[in-house]
Amino acid sequence: MKRTATVLAAVLLAAAGCSDSGGGGSSGSADTPGVTDTEIVVGTHMPLTGPAAAGYSKIAPATKAYFDYVNANGGVHGRKITYKIMDDGYNPANTQQVVRQLVLQDKVFAILNGLGTPTHSGVLDFLKTNRVPDLFVASGSRSWNQPDKYPGTFGFNPDYTVEGKILATHVKETYAGKKVCFLGQDDDFGRDSLAGIEKVLGPVAAKQSYVTSNPNVGPQIGALKAAACQVVMLATVPGFTALSIGTAAKLGFKPQFVVSNVGSDPTTLAKTLGDAAPLLEGVVAANYLPLANDTANPWIQLYTKVNTQYNAGAELDNNVVYGMSVAYLFVQALQSAGKDLTRDGIVEAVEKGGFTGPGLVPVRYSADDHSGYSGEQLTTIEKGQAKYFGKAYRTDDGDGAVEPVEAAAVAPPANGIPAA
């Protein structure tokens, strides 16, 4: 016991010794954490490693690259944006840890674009308690749109139910009479998506789920094959989209695949599938941002320029487009919040809404709607390249109709940075 006491004392004294480290660092002009006259510190959690990292690991560096571009052009209201990227490996337990580190130790102004339904769900309460703005979550769960319960949380992606309804409407029109089945992630992502699909199609013929911790989808795909499915709708992250399509081919099972936006970046899928990439031909998915291969699009031209200069020449794919579009929206919100930046101020600015940008459909932000993009347009893969077809649609996550919308995209500002 004596030794226990000695060690206890030594350890606790050592801990006391570090008490003055780690604190401080932020003496914001208006006492706002993470904001000084020259800097805004924001943080994010991303799967840079692990089963969901394929593709997604490129998002945060792209966001950072756009911020670097803005910083090089004078920043926002004279402040440079520092973006702290933390890896959570798509593991909710790690997310808890890294977000605490960002908020309590690094004193970030806001969490931006934290990725993942299962991961981000776990930190909503923590962020609310600490009154940290939680902007543009990189996931389409409906949980982000609860202004009464989580006043500081805003979504970005079209929610999975909206997406499910739009994809299902296409399936209903194009593959009438075919047997439609579903494979989804075993969490709110899969559940919300299935809810949207079943609102339009009624009960699907067979449904299966997977967990990212078990990379064997053979049994699920086998069951879908046994059920003689002709159309398989996937609510999967990219690694599992590739795994599902590859496994199906292995089983001699060739249904029409219809894939959620978040699991459909063709560059990522082709890389994961390797030699089996031709299996992607004809896969239907959806998107709401310009496609990376559309070199005529002025946004893609802007992003290509930023990507070459500030992102170490990473291959421009839809993940990079996504990351930069998030960054653009965040800069818009900062401009709108004005020079006197506070946490309440940025939330008000986003709620004020009225943002226009690269999106094919409008964003919805208002005081009583914290969801992001309101709809999607369908894409298909031809000769390894994704392309849009048909019209853009919008809908709600209830029983509202799926209706076409006029194009909402505007040209980017000449210098590529939103005006104040």
């Binding site: 909710p92 337990a93 308690t129 789920s209 967990v211 911790s213």
Partner: protein
Amino acid sequence: MTALQDRTRTRAAHKAQARLNPYLVIAAGAVVVVALTYMLPPFRTYQLATVGAYLCVTAGLTVLTGLNGQLSLGHGALMATGAYTLALWQNKFNLLLPGILVAIVVTTAVGAVIGLAAARLRGPYLAGLTLAVAVVVPSITSTFDETFNSDQGLSVILNPPPDSMTVEQWQAWVCWGGALLTVLALALLTRGRFGRDMRAVRDDETAARLAGVSVARTQVLAFVVSAACAGLAGALFAVIAQSVSPGAFPLTLSLFLLMAIVIGGLGRLSGALIGAVLLVALPAVAHEIGEAAGSQRLEGNLALTFFGVVLVVVMLAAPGGLASLRIPFKKKGH
């Protein structure tokens, strides 16, 4: 078993010296912890709370492995049991203290089942079985996803702490309350007959049996005690994180726990404390190094590698662990 036997001998010598009253040590520890929660910035207080939660499980495990000679790689899964029990209880009843007790009871029951099987196994067989227990957690949470909600896990409803303190302070108090009580209970328990029986069984089962010690009973009891500690630790982790998910209890956690008790000297509660501190401090240091080097890859892996190297080196060079090297340790300790 000589590696372990050596430790008994040092322990015999250790016994001869004057001992501090455990109650006094625990009381002093409590005072220091409370003082620290007012001195440290919030993130450090949060880390302090995590150390407390780890201490519960490392203390129990070091008794099991060090004093009783049973190896368990399944304590991560036992922590998950405690954590999920607390989450389910809180989301239904929202009564924290009874919830923690229920979590301990449920984990103890699960531990008794594993312990019954473990008491009949030795060496690699025991390690293999408990390893299989450790990897079964995600399988259970996704098979019974309506209860456990798969990889996403459950959030834990908690009442906000009293207005007079911050969330982190409250967490540290709760965790260290649990940790200090655990250490006290284990210190008292291992001093008495039970401690003697455990060591006797560890050193020579036949001799212990001849001396009238029930080998199986002692082993199961040791496993149950350490399982209860793991259950408490799991419940505390659920409180700290306000959520539980299978990803919080991976196989590496169980390996880390093993590292923690080996590095501090098997069978010593002081070693369990050193181990618990390292479990929190080393990944944090590795993160700093990774950030300084600008390498994302270094971060988690540096701690992993370091833990592994320490485990191998300590096992090969100083089977008593760092705490057994008393003189160098004192020299280093300022």
